[in-house]
């Protein structure tokens, strides 16, 4: 009998474009290292869902993203030493994996007189002059960059807030306007702060250009998502987690747009020719929320063994649905466009949430909608000990899917960075059993005359 080998490193990826997407990760890192040589300012930014990064870039700052760097370090199996450094620094292992990886890396940077260590994965993160953090999503994000500032000789930290009102409150008269006004106000303050820090004025023409490009790229990325509704699925999560890099981190870069045209063409060709990403698609699953970056090959294993295609995943990484035209009608201030764009990310599913009587819209109702749109057979919940926001809704979503749509879920514990808490054998075993559960629910949906 054959010995089962788990692919513990990189995933094979099914799209050629997905194999090429690593270029953008490298581009960000090398551009920052070049900027450092040229004496241009570098910022480290969290994913702010376009709230802060476009502004900083328009001001001439080169940005790198520690969250992306964490995923990269985990994927190339270089995160462990950084996690151990963070452990030794006294940070608990329940703290965000991205934060611990980043703190570990920053400690090595600080210990090396703020020169990037020669052996840093991917060339390393160049020393920043600013840390842009975001209050959107979680509490760790407030404190993590504050902690970093201490290793970096007091580099300033700027935190951008994202009002996240509950579903009911969202529909209160005036709520949206007040939230938008709040965001706009803080963006203006951010611009003022950057002008002082960098000693130059905001180039609003440049910002507008970047914004226009961003909207184009996001629309194209969304259109790729729409193509993915096809059966068999032309693209799977293993592909998405690579191709997402340019739209999430570099949407203003024309190269990202060109790249998405290639992605779109490749996916469309597959759709037109009924070619599935995996040759034996038998089950269509959704994945929530943050993936085990160190073990993406696991998804290749379950595709090969059970015919499981992960057809849609990770709400937080997806491009927004295009904003309704009236949303931007008469809006001329690029800062207001940014405010609306970011706010849309967190509220675009509120109508869906009302329709399904489910909350919150993001993380929860979105998966109900996706289950129908993508004809899902199952839901893979990946709770992370180290990330509350990407975990607290999972069981709730699993139950909602089972009750409302007869789509079952399976829970596989793990971590984004820390491979010590992911047990691939156990996870594989669970998937093997879960296949039967999906068969059972498929029968229930058939009896209930549901659409899939």
């Amino acid at each position: 009998m054959e010995k089962k080998e788990f692919k513990t490193k990189k995933s094979a990826k099914t799209l050629q474009t997905a194999r090429e997407a690593g270029y953008f990760g490298k581009k960000m890192l090398t551009s920052a290292l070049e900027a450092q040589k040229e004496g241009r300012p570098i910022g480290w930014s969290m994913v702010t869902w376009w709230e802060g990064d476009l502004i900083a870039k328009a001001m001439g700052m080169e940005l790198v993203y520690p969250e992306n760097y964490g995923a990269f370090c985990a994927a190339v199996r270089r995160a462990e030493p950084y996690l151990e450094i963070a452990d030794a620094e006294g940070y608990p292992n329940t703290l965000c994996g991205y934060a611990r990886n980043c703190i570990g890396y920053t400690k090595t940077l600080a210990d090396n007189n703020l020169e990037v260590p020669a052996d840093a994965p991917g060339g390393g993160l160049a020393k920043p002059v600013l840390l842009i953090s975001s209050g959107a999503a979680c509490d760790a994000r407030y404190k993590w960059f504050q902690a970093l500032g201490r290793y970096l000789n007091g580099v300033p930290v700027w935190t951008l807030e994202m009002p996240q009102t509950g579903l009911k409150e969202f529909y209160l008269p005036g709520n949206k306007e007040k939230n938008l006004a709040f965001i706009l106000e803080e963006l203006k303050e951010f611009v003022g702060f950057l002008e002082k820090l960098l000693g130059n004025k905001m180039d609003y023409d440049r910002l507008e250009e970047m914004l226009a490009q961003t909207l184009k790229t996001l629309r194209l990325a969304y259109e790729v998502d729409v193509l993915r509704k096809t059966v068999p699925s032309p693209m799977v999560s293993q592909d998405f987690w690579s191709v997402m890099i340019p739209h999430l981190y570099l949407p203003e870069d024309p190269e990202a747009y060109e790249f998405y045209q290639k992605v779109y063409d490749e996916v469309k060709t597959k759709v037109d020719n009924h070619i599935g990403a995996i040759p034996n698609e038998r089950y269509r699953m959704m994945f929530s929320e943050l993936p085990p970056w160190h073990s993406i090959g696991f998804f290749d294993d379950i595709a090969e063994k059970f015919g499981i295609a992960m057809v849609i995943e990770s709400w937080n990484y997806h491009a927004i649905k295009p904003m309704p035209a009236e949303e931007l009608e008469g809006v001329t201030d690029p800062l207001e466009v940014i405010a609306r764009l970011s706010y849309h990310k967190f509220t675009e599913d509120n109508d869906t949430a009302r329709r399904y009587d489910a909350s919150p819209g993001f993380f929860n109702a979105r998966y109900l909608q996706w289950a129908e749109d993508y004809r899902a057979d199952g839901f893979l919940a990946h709770p992370l000990m180290s990330c509350r926001p990407a975990t607290y809704t999972l069981l709730h979503t699993k139950n909602s899917l089972e009750e409302k749509l007869k789509v079952p879920g399976v829970v596989i514990d793990g971590d984004i960075i820390d491979l010590r808490v992911f047990n691939p054998d156990e996870a594989f075993s669970k998937m093997e059993a879960f296949v039967e559960t999906m068969d059972h629910y498929r029968e229930l949906r058939r009896k209930a005359e549901m659409a899939w």
């Binding site: 054998d425 059993a433 059972h440």
Partner: protein, 286 residues
Amino acid sequence: MFFAGLDIGSTITKVVIKNEKKICATVIKPTGAEHRRLAHKVMEDALSKAGVPFEDVDYIIATGYGRINVPFADRQVTEITCHMRGVNWLFPAVKTIIDIGGQDSKGIKVENGKLVNFIMNDKCAAGTGRFLEIIAGVLGVKLEEIGELSLKSTRPSDISNMCTVFAEQEALLRLSEGTPVEDILAGIHKANASRIHSMVKKIKIEPEVAITGGGAKNRGLCKALEEKVGFPVVVPPEPLITGALGAALIAGEQIAKIDKEELQERQKKRRLEAVTFFDDESTKAR
């Protein structure tokens, strides 16, 4: 026709040999690193108990933690499925199975013999046999006696910690305060039952409920769980073999799907040899 199920768990290996009508033999043996490797010996015992030569067994399914690379198994099936099938055969009305193993515990939902939902605790000793083993050691009581002893308690002590390490400290503290051992054990069983219950509750507990695994042999734990669940639970006559039984049942179904020639071909290839998953050096008895 004969078919066999082999369940190599973390602490115990079980074999069930069946024919179309009845269970011909069951064998239960402890699993250590060495024993796990030598699962073929347990199979040999079972075969001789059943009076069936190895060559006459038509299909063998391995399940459990050590199911990988059993050279004499035709197929591996997860323990979740096998437990479900075994219990469903014994108690067709059971809808919720609580399996308490040596290293993990599971909740399994079943409907008309189909696996509807499941949940597992495989990360933490709390809520598993390991938890009770540690506490038994701390209190100096034999593991197989702690259940009965706990039933003698009139005032179960409060054990507030679910974490094995802290619960161990708490048990020691109660001991130093002069609390009778049976009261501490009753408290420990309550805490363990509470932990298991809150996990299984996530998949909605519906009657009938069956308890299986090593934990089901502990009457104190079953009683504490029954109290938590709120209605009576059933326990199979031999709660350790449900996984192997389920494996044997699935093996029986597999035979029907395979033609005779292929079956003979498979039988020829099978070797009743040591499990090769564990490397020889690290698992040799010293």
